[in-house]
């Protein structure tokens, strides 16, 4: 496990003293965290802790919300993503996101997967076909849908839809993949398949996950961060965090004394 973290010298994402407020409500307080490259980083903690908020700051999806205040920096490959002149659409192509509920776009499986690339200007049909096949394979969905590519996406099962959403993000060949409770609506088998694909995907992508449960966090995490009421209580290696946490609050949460 430690070799994974030592592989890349510079962390892919650096969150530096980030505070964030919705109106009067302080959602994040002075968070500093490094996200290592090509590994799975887990943000866990009880509800309302700010995990989803932090996630959405990384692909600037929270730009759409009005009345917010932010301080601090978030660096991607050393560059401040909130700096002047940053192309937000381009950022979102480098940092993909999968949401808690499967959200297929209206249209066929093909329409869904190729939405991003087409928006980015890709028109060559054979190129698009390659993208389609590659992304669906990476999301472990190709075999199940290869004969139904032109059927409506909302006819797939919940687990399949969620993997479709993963494939959709992968079609843009992002560098980072953000997943917000990706298995919360899924049955155990689909959950297993999604977690499996994370193990494969982390060889090529940097992954940040908000897990569905502490157990899931323990299963997938290379690196973990515990957030409680907007504060970063502690962070470190996955293996250590769940067996011997440093802070008493972390231990209480992990052992189920609250949450």
């Amino acid at each position: 496990m430690s070799s994974v973290l030592a592989r890349e010298a510079q962390p892919k994402i650096q969150i530096q003293k980030v505070s964030y407020a919705y109106g009067d409500e302080q959602a994040l307080k002075d968070i500093s965290l490094d996200v290592p490259t090509r590994a799975v980083t887990v943000l866990f903690g009880p509800a309302g802790g700010g995990k989803t908020t932090l996630l959405r700051l990384i692909n600037r999806l929270n730009d759409l919300v009005e009345g917010t205040q932010m301080s601090g920096r978030i660096l991607l490959d050393g560059q401040d993503i909130y700096g002047p002149g940053i192309d937000v659409s381009g950022l979102r192509r480098r940092v993909g996101m999968v949401f808690a509920l499967p959200l297929p776009l209206p249209g066929t499986v093909r329409d869904n997967v190729l939405y991003g690339p087409r928006l980015a200007g890709e028109r060559d049909p054979s190129c698009l076909e390659d993208i389609l096949r590659r992304s669906l394979s990476q999301a472990a969905l190709w075999d199940e849908v290869k004969d139904r590519l032109d059927r409506p996406a909302n006819r797939l099962s919940g687990g399949q839809q969620q993997r479709l959403c993963i494939a959709r993000s992968l079609a843009l060949e992002p560098e980072v993949l953000l997943l917000d409770e990706p298995t919360s609506g899924l049955d155990p088998i689909s959950t297993g398949k999604v977690e499996e694909s994370l193990f494969q995907l982390k060889q090529d992508y940097t992954i940040v996950v908000v897990p569905h449960s502490v157990q899931q966090a323990a299963r997938v995490a290379d690196s973990a961060a515990f957030l409680l009421m907007g504060e970063l209580i502690e962070h470190g290696r996955g293996s250590e965090m769940f067996t011997a946490p440093g802070d008493q609050r972390t231990e209480n949460y992990i052992t189920g004394r609250f949450g």
Partner: protein, 298 residues
């Protein structure tokens, strides 16, 4: 890089165009008001207020008293709303709270059909069938009366009243109904003691919008009210011909010389109508606006 620059430029143009179209509505209102003023203000300069507020509208004799017209409009409108209010609210309650599904499937399209029938067609029907009926049943010299006009107008306002009232009833949370029923109330009691009071402001809005619609109606009233510009001062006036502001403009503008006092007077009536309906709709809309913010629906 150049591709994304191109899209950014194209998008900028499109978004600017969309913004313009949004703001054009304000432009149109101002445009309408200013042209009404342009052609209507001269009347206030050429005709004395005593004349304008007088009780005789005889343009050929230089008398431009608007009072009979205003009262004519009021009479027809008030009676129409008096008829339409109970009918409309009752129908809305019926459709929303009581009616079985098959009845609802028939009623809602029917009301939409009514909303679509052109006013000239209803005026035609009123003139050829309703007015004679009024004349025969009530024994009046002519059926072209304020009453007949009010009847037709009531029906024309019904779709507005019904749909807005229905929305108001819809907005009442089901938990209110469930709570009342759980306490042993009958459906009837629930409706009239819980649901309708909760929807009260929406129903008031519905009536105001219906009234605005009635004041502004032209063709139907023109064809049915008999067009006599008399002061409707007694109860009997309901069963005699009367003239509304709208019908006056429609009937006389065609024969008027551009730039004459009569011409400006008709525009003056137009200004009065604009202001009147603006006030009615503003009050109704204010109810909608405050409701929306409190409810936080969107």
């Amino acid at each position: 890089m150049s591709d994304s620059k191109k899209t950014h430029w194209g998008e900028f143009v499109v978004e600017a165009g969309i913004r313009v179209m949004g703001f054009s509505t304000i432009g149109f209102v101002l445009l309408i008001f200013s042209f009404l003023l342009r052609e209507g203000v001269p009347v206030f300069l050429k005709v004395s207020p005593a004349n304008f507020l007088g009780v005789r509208w005889y343009p050929t004799f230089g008398l431009f008293g608007m009072l009979p017209l205003i009262l004519g409009s009021m009479l027809v409108t008030v009676v129409a709303v008096t008829i339409a209010l109970p009918l409309g609210v009752a129908t809305a309650v019926f459709v929303r709270e009581v009616a079985p599904n098959w009845a609802r499937e028939i009623l809602k399209p029917m009301i939409e059909v009514l909303a679509g029938i052109p006013s000239v067609v209803l005026g035609f029907f009123g003139m050829t069938i309703v007015a004679p009926m009024v004349r025969e049943t009530l024994g009046v010299p002519t059926g072209l009366t304020a009453f007949a006009g009010a009847l037709i107008l009531a029906y024309m306002s019904l779709p507005t009243i019904i749909s807005v009232a229905e929305d108001a009833l819809d907005a009442v949370p089901n938990s209110y109904r469930d709570a009342a029923l759980a306490m042993g109330a009958t459906q009837w009691q629930t409706i009239w003691r819980v649901v309708v009071p909760a929807a009260r402001s929406g129903i008031v809005t519905a009536v105001m919008l219906g009234m605005g619609r009635a004041i502004g109606e032209t063709m139907a009233v023109m064809m049915v009210t008999g067009n006599a510009a008399r002061m409707p001062l007694s109860l009997n006036a309901l069963f005699r011909p009367v003239r509304t502001m709208t019908a006056t403009i429609a009937a006389e503008m065609g024969e008027v010389a551009r730039g004459s006092v009569h011409y400006h007077a008709l525009f003056g009536i137009g200004i009065a109508l604009f202001v009147l309906t603006f006030l009615v709709n503003l009050t109704a809309a204010r109810v909608i606006f405050t409701k929306r913010r409190k409810g936080g629906l969107r």
